[in-house]
């Protein structure tokens, strides 16, 4: 709604990637305070409905760079 202050970059928000311990389905959601890699959390699997998932990664998506230029 409000424009960013000039010159100040937005702080990247990481995603938490979870793996269902029952069916192995991978799922992601925005990072929540208290999350850490290899933590087992009680969250519902969107596929099998099981209640145990493990955090397998927390990271931000890479920026897409323009192709055709030396990088």
């Amino acid at each position: 709604m409000f424009p960013q202050r000039r010159g100040v970059r937005p702080v990247p928000k990481p995603l938490t990637h979870l793996k269902c311990l029952e069916c192995g389905t991978l799922n992601s959601r925005p990072f929540k305070e208290g999350d850490y890699v290899f933590k087992e959390v009680e969250e519902k699997c969107p596929k099998c409905g099981a209640n145990r998932m493990k955090i397998v990664g927390i990271y931000v998506e890479d920026k897409v760079t323009k192709k055709g230029k030396p990088s």
């Binding site: 202050r5 010159g7 100040v8 970059r9 702080v11 990247p12 990481p14 990072f31 305070e33 208290g34 999350d35 850490y36 890699v37 290899f38 933590k39 990664g57 927390i58 990271y59 931000v60 998506e61 890479d62 030396p70 990088s71």
Partner: protein
Amino acid sequence: MLNFLQVAGQQDLISVISSLIWILFMMIFILYPTFSQRIQLSYILRDLERRLQKLKVMRDEVRRKTVETLKKYSGDGVNVDEELDKLLLSFMIDPESMDPYGIVYKLEHIVNTWEDTFEEHVKSICAKADETWSKTLTNLVEVARGMDYLYRVVRHYYLLGKKTSNIYIVLQIQMLMPQLMEIAEAYRQACYAFTQGQPIGDGVGVLAAAKLVEGLEKKTYQVAKDTIVHELEMDGRKIFVLRAAGPGGAVGKPADGVLKILESEGDRVKAIIMIDAGLKLEGEESGKVVEGIGAAIGGTGVDKYKIEEASKKKNIPLYAFVIYQSIGEAITPMKKSIAKAAEETAEKVKKLISSKVEEGFSVIVAGIGNTVGIGIS
């Protein structure tokens, strides 16, 4: 009244204009050497002032965020602002190097004392924080301290240049400003990562070590301060995977851990493999895994020295895996390309172990880096 054409000796208007232009050129040649530096100086100072103002905004933001976070965990009656100021201005004096004999151990002693004092001070402010959070909060204060110091150094050179009208002082700091602003931006983002306990790029070495042993049967125990070891058997070889204990922000004491394992294992250790984040050159790809020889570890140099010394004494080869990233990426939330490189590195380490270490022998794998947001696998 003076006739206008008299200026050019009763000539026509074009001659008058050309004479005036000629005089103007002459004045430029006469005045330029005298005033050029002053003009340049004022331009540079104005540019520096603008950037310094931006740096101040960033410093204030990091400080505000740090105070807010510390207040969440502070005990009653603690003046967080005052205590933070003490920490931001705290310092460590390097040992005297005129006689370099034994300097590594003197440096180690001073660094250990400083780290312990710093950590204890943060713990005394944040009495409500558990062990994990107090380590992450210590990292957060270190980020705030780095940002504050950067601002004070730039301000110092700006004011010194202005006071002495010395163009060479301000020119040097102006040339460094783009890199310094990048570092400041990295500090700003690091502050957000540490307030929430998110993994940072520097943690990729630890993440790779954790991925190597994930899901395998192993014995885990503490080997040095904030440092753990996973001991396991893999294809007939005994593997000691050493890393800092997470998920709080810590780097541990990898060298002390390596020395203890070497002491208990004797001559059975046939290789030491180190995994760490490494600085890439501009234009290189982040998350690229490269292999080399030597002790892949940064910091004060104490850990590097001790590992090199021990490996030389026992004639154990040192292999290194480095995951490329920029200085900014190292202290900001981990990027996908870097996180994915951890899995690739773990596979490469497995291959190296099977090709370089014979069955029945042992190998040490050390994952180096900050463990913030990375638990035990």
